[in-house]
């Protein structure tokens, strides 16, 4: 048998051609590309100069309402009105209190972002922080003038509604989601009826129902103010939506988890608290944060029931006859605040999704 041994070295091969396409090919490679490139370029060329001259060159940066003639943006309006838009009709001398609330909520949120801070102590920090922030807003103790909730307004109301409706809705949602998965038929159907009943209605009619019917449905003489009524509607709403997200988490859980817990003769309560819920919740953290975005945006609906949130305050500011109602600047400003909050949460969700949080790939 003869063997074959390579004695000569093989010539080096040339490197493969550069796979990158030229910029021209990228932008004008095919018909679709060309059309969209041209359309986008056309839109930018047509709009950008107008926007620059409206917003920057002709913009009025300071002064009175009479100086805004309509040729450019009336930034002076925002400069004069931003405290009102941000804090509503809260007494102007006391602005540090809503500012403190905003700082507390933002601080707590930032602290809670990294998964390493997801501990029981963080939960307590939220409870204490919320109570302190609300007490600061309400006042009524010596040294702090009492401010009724009718005078609360602007961004604090938006934040309070978001935080409280989600915070109070979450335990409710866990109960509803567990109830829906329950083998006890009566419990299951009650939970299904509640969840589907709320989800079948627009939030607007839920706000209607609560603001008109709740005073009728409670014993005579029990008065609840507008903010609390809106909060009830938002809490029930967020509970139903969170419950559906949690149901996804519960259904995604392998049956073996519960069966193993049963085999170890854990009680239903220990099984749920130690085995089922931690896994079910951590599996649905991205959709849960999406629900947070939905709720932040939904708080803007409370203007229907006459609450002074960020948007209603902006609308009230626009009604001032001393100014020529610069709506684009005002709604732009409000939209920007919402955008910053919601976009940050969206980005955070993407980041969380990329983390392999619990080191298990299922």
């Amino acid at each position: 048998m003869t063997g074959f041994v390579q004695t000569q070295s093989i010539d080096a091969r040339t490197a493969p051609l550069d796979a990158r396409r030229s910029l021209f090919r990228v932008l004008f490679g095919d018909v679709l590309s060309t059309v969209s490139t041209l359309a986008i370029l056309f839109a930018v060329i047509a709009l950008a100069p107008k926007l620059v001259s409206w917003g920057l060159l002709n913009g009025i940066w300071a002064g009175e309402g009479t100086q805004c003639t309509g040729a450019g943006a009336c930034w002076a309006f925002l400069r004069a009105k931003y405290p009102f838009i941000l804090f509503g009709i809260y007494p102007p001398g006391q602005y540090w209190r809503p500012v403190a609330l905003i700082v507390i909520f933002i601080g707590l949120t930032l602290y809670s972002l990294p998964p390493k801070n997801w501990k029981t102590s963080t939960l307590w920090a939220w409870v204490i922080g919320t109570v302190v922030a609300l007490a600061l807003m309400a006042g009524g103790v010596p040294g702090l003038e009492a401010v009724p909730t009718d005078s609360w307004g602007g961004l604090p109301v938006t934040l309070i509604l978001t935080v409280l409706s989600l915070g109070l809705g979450f335990p409710l949602a866990i109960a509803l989601a567990l109830g829906r998965q329950s083998e006890l038929k009566a419990v299951k159907y009650i939970c299904v009826a509640v969840i589907e009943g709320i989800r079948g209605l627009p939030l607007l009619s839920l706000l209607f129902i609560v603001s008109i019917l709740l005073p009728l449905m409670l014993p005579d003489g029990l008065k609840i103010d507008k903010l609390l009524r809106a909060l009830v509607a938002m809490t029930v709403f967020s509970a139903a939506y969170l419950a559906e997200v949690l149901r996804g988490g519960l259904q995604g859980l392998h049956n073996g988890q519960g069966e193993a817990a049963d085999a170890l003769s854990l009680s239903w309560w220990s099984k749920t608290r130690l085995i089922i819920l931690p896994q079910a919740i951590s599996n649905v953290i991205p959709p849960l944060t999406n629900t947070v975005v939905v709720m932040v945006k939904n708080t803007s609906l409370v203007l229907i029931v006459g609450l002074y949130d960020l948007l209603s305050a902006g609308r009230a500011a626009l009604a001032d006859p001393a100014w020529p109602a610069p709506f684009a600047e005002t709604y732009g400003f409000i939209a920007l605040i919402y955008f910053i909050i919601c976009f940050s949460i969206t980005r955070y969700t993407h980041w969380i999704e990329r983390q392999n949080l619990f080191g298990v790939n299922r």
Binding site: L27, L204, L216, A335, Y338
Partner: protein
């Protein structure tokens, strides 16, 4: 085993307790309501539906006059709600498809434009957008004496848009009369704000649903189709789209129902949909309970009917598993 540790016994007790608590909560609330109504001398009943409504509805698909009955006012409001929902759903689907195509392109400019659009419209509240569009028409557009006239026959004014309409004898152009434009198609500022706002908002979500659906189909499917010698268009139509539809349809259903629910925000800009009629009726008659009951009934019926219809369709396209 001790009898009170028995699983079956416990199950029964729990269910009786839960049902009892739920029922007594409902009884307590209805009892309070009845007591409060009696105390205020209010009567419950749907007699008011047969009375004349006596409030105007500024525009409607169905014909209406203030002498009509309340039940017809509700029907007219519902007609407007369904009308705006349908044309918004149609427009948003077309726009969403365009967005999805834009974001799937290899062109960074197109991707950037699509992403900016989606992120901006999804991360700001719809109410803010609606109010912006409404203000843009009513404050931003010129008065009827100096209308914007971008195309022949198209006039943009603070009182709405005037467009040429298709009629039996050709194009019907709007013509300037003494106080207003006559003829043609007149779109009120309220309608324009609702239509624009809802469509642009929903398009962002629909675009993402379509894109997600197309991306969820494994790449190997298209590659295999091409390897089998199918033309790119055939691969798209016969392999990619049928599989993507299966993923797209369930979220699309909830998106259409969302459009319906969001259309209740018409109240903010004053477009006379069903929530507007409900609010006006409650104001005029004080029959809050009945008004809200009708509103709830309408939404439950539509939501359930839509999901049943979509489930039927879904079961036809769904994966047949052995």
């Amino acid at each position: 085993m001790v009898w009170w540790r028995d699983q079956k016994f416990r199950a029964i007790v729990f269910q009786v307790l839960a049902a009892g608590a739920f029922l007594s909560l409902i009884l307590w609330l209805t009892g309070n309501t009845a007591a409060n109504l009696a105390k205020r001398g209010l009567t419950v009943g749907f007699d008011f539906l047969g009375r004349a409504a006596r409030f105007p509805i500024s525009e409607s698909v169905l014909s209406y006059s203030p002498t009509d009955h309340f039940w017809w006012a509700y029907t007219v409001g519902l007609g407007n709600t369904l009308f705006i929902t349908m044309i918004v759903a149609l427009t948003a689907t077309v726009l969403g498809l365009m967005l999805a195509i834009l974001r799937r392109e290899d062109n960074p400019l197109a991707q950037g434009a699509g992403t900016t659009y989606v992120e901006f419209f999804r991360n700001t509240p719809l109410v803010v957008q609606l109010l912006f569009w409404y203000a843009l028409v009513t404050v931003g557009l010129p008065s009827i004496d100096a209308p914007l006239n971008p195309l022949p026959g198209v006039y943009l004014t603070e009182r709405g848009l005037y467009l040429p309409a298709l009629s039996l004898n050709g194009l019907d152009m709007p013509v300037r009369a003494k106080f207003n434009f006559e003829g043609g198609l007149n779109l009120s500022p309220e309608f324009v704000a609702m239509y624009l706002g809802l469509s642009l908002y929903a398009a962002a979500f629909i675009g993402e649903i379509i894109r997600g659906g197309l991306e969820a189909v494994a790449k190997g499917q298209t590659e295999a189709a091409l390897a089998l010698g199918l033309a790119p268009k055939q691969a798209l139509n016969l392999v990619l789209i049928p599989q993507a539809l299966r993923i797209i349809i369930p979220p699309m259903t909830s998106q259409y129902i969302n459009i319906l629910k969001n259309s209740t925000l018409a109240l903010v800009v004053g477009y006379p949909d069903i929530s507007f009629v409900t609010a006006t009726t409650i104001n005029q008659t004080g029959q809050a309970l009945e008004g809200i009951f009708i509103l709830m009934l309408v939404f439950f019926t539509i939501s359930i009917a839509t999901s049943v219809a979509m489930n039927l369709y879904n079961s036809r396209v769904a994966l047949k598993v052995r």
